[in-house]
């Protein structure tokens, strides 16, 4: 299973427990997480389901390429880390 964890900066606003998720893309992995933690969605994705402008996702220490559709492939035992970009001020 893929491990999904979040920047601790989010904990001021919403609980984001680290979880093991399934899915073959970043989108699928996140959607599985949001089903169990629905409040987290709006903190990570915008109204159209794209990654928020000043949020970044690392997949095994590499930034994902597709910030709109989140189509980057995920394999079992990958690590996904959701962080806030420093560009947001």
């Amino acid at each position: 299973m893929t491990t999904l964890c979040f920047t601790p900066n989010l904990l001021r606003h919403v609980k984001t427990p680290t979880a093991h998720v399934v899915g073959s893309t970043v989108r699928q992995a996140l959607e599985g997480y949001f089903r169990a933690n629905p409040r987290v969605r709006g903190y990570v994705l915008d109204d159209q389901g794209a990654l928020r402008q000043h949020v970044a996702i690392f997949l095994n220490q590499e930034l994902i390429h597709d910030r709109i559709n989140l189509s980057d492939s995920v394999r079992e035992h990958d690590d996904i880390f959701v962080v806030q970009a420093l560009s947001g001020g």
Partner: protein, 368 residues
């Protein structure tokens, strides 16, 4: 008579209250560190709505049903999916208009259970269940003229003023930076662009009177006389006597007719207050002297009020939502970008400094 205020700032929400000695003090704080872009205290004093702008993590709504003792996260006005293939670009810069709420810039109560919400990038949302759910007002968003709205202060257009007619809550008027004044008389199903007599000086001269390109900084209406509207516009101060259809420009207002904030006496449509600034190239008090201007005769004359305001040079700017008047028309309050805050108990004749050390003040609301 209101004895307390809520104040949204760049770094949290503050309550300011009148104490037994007659001083106004900060008595409570919430959401410290988070920008609070807009507030709505519902009549009755218990239910409060606060819009947070969490930057990285988007806009959020918080609601209290017990006067601020406890808060909980509430649904956010969100845009529907953008249809495939639709072109929706900012006309000035050619950038895609995001179908995503970037800033909550207006919140007003309508009929029972009804709340209107204006946002950047130009959406108007309506809730008919007290904020439990929101719907984008599609007839306004889908009007082809909406695509000519431009950013004013922010990268994309925003609705900052929502006027609900107390005689008829289906009659709603909104003002847009930059996109003029729009009104509906059927609760949002149909919209009319109004604003004859407004004038801009930032477009090509032949477009000066185009209602669609007017940068209304803030529009307010008198509760007791809802056809009387006051506007602080990018290019001056305007008054309407017919609900915004036609406007009269008031020139030669000392020390400047530029500014953002305006508020009107709730019972006397001829009395309104402004906080002027050196015009748009500078946006600081004229000659570094912070004053409030007031008219009591519908704009024929303006008084410059400064008793209790800084005697030393001051560089405070007052944002469009950062000046408010209480329902009695006697008490006023405003806060500035430099974190100063003042209250008046005599219609602005004199001012008491509450603090010079708040975060930049974004919005001010008396609690009734």
């Amino acid at each position: 008579m209101s004895n307390r205020l809520i104040v949204g700032t760049r770094k949290g929400l503050f309550r300011i209250e009148r104490t037994g000695t007659g001083n106004w003090d900060v008595t409570q704080t919430w959401f410290l560190g988070d920008p609070v872009s807009m507030l709505l205290p519902e009549p009755g004093g218990l239910r409060l709505h606060a819009a947070l702008d969490l930057g990285h993590f988007g806009v959020k709504m918080q609601r209290s049903d017990d006067g601020g003792a406890t808060w909980s996260e509430a649904p956010v006005p969100a845009f529907p999916p953008k249809p495939e293939g639709i072109e929706d670009k900012d006309p000035m810069r050619g950038l895609d208009v995001p179908w995503s709420t970037q800033l909550i810039w207006a919140l007003e109560a309508g009929g029972p259970g009804e709340i209107w919400c204006g946002v950047v990038p130009g959406g108007l949302f309506q809730s008919i269940d007290g904020g439990e759910s929101w719907a984008l007002v599609r007839p306004l968003w889908d009007d082809p003229r909406r695509k000519k709205w431009m950013g004013g202060g922010y990268d994309f257009a925003g609705i900052h003023s929502i006027l609900v007619d107390p005689r008829d809550p289906a009659h709603v008027t909104v003002a847009v930076s930059v996109g003029g004044v729009w009104t509906t008389r059927d609760g949002g199903a149909h919209w009319e662009l109004i604003g004859s007599g407004l004038r801009n000086a930032y477009m090509p001269p032949e477009m000066a009177g185009d209602p669609l390109t007017q940068d209304c900084h803030r529009v307010v209406c008198c509760g007791a006389s809802p056809d009387r509207l006051w506007m602080q516009h990018h290019n001056g101060i305007f008054r309407s006597d017919d609900g915004g259809e036609n406007w009269h420009e008031l020139s030669d207002v000392p020390p400047s007719s530029f500014g953002f904030a305006v508020t009107v006496h709730p019972k006397d449509p001829d009395t309104a207050w402004f906080v002027p600034a050196a015009k748009d190239e500078q946006r600081i008090p004229v000659d570094a002297r912070l004053v409030v201007t007031r008219t009591r005769d519908g704009g024929q004359h303006f008084e410059v009020l400064h008793r209790g305001l800084p005697s030393e040079p001051a560089y405070d700017l007052v944002y469009r939502h950062a000046l408010d008047v209480a329902s009695d028309g006697e008490r006023l309050a405003f806060g500035s970008t430099t974190g100063s805050f003042w209250v008046s108990e005599d219609q602005g004749e004199s001012w008491q400094t509450v603090s010079n050390h708040l975060p930049p003040v974004l919005c001010v609301r008396f609690e009734e």
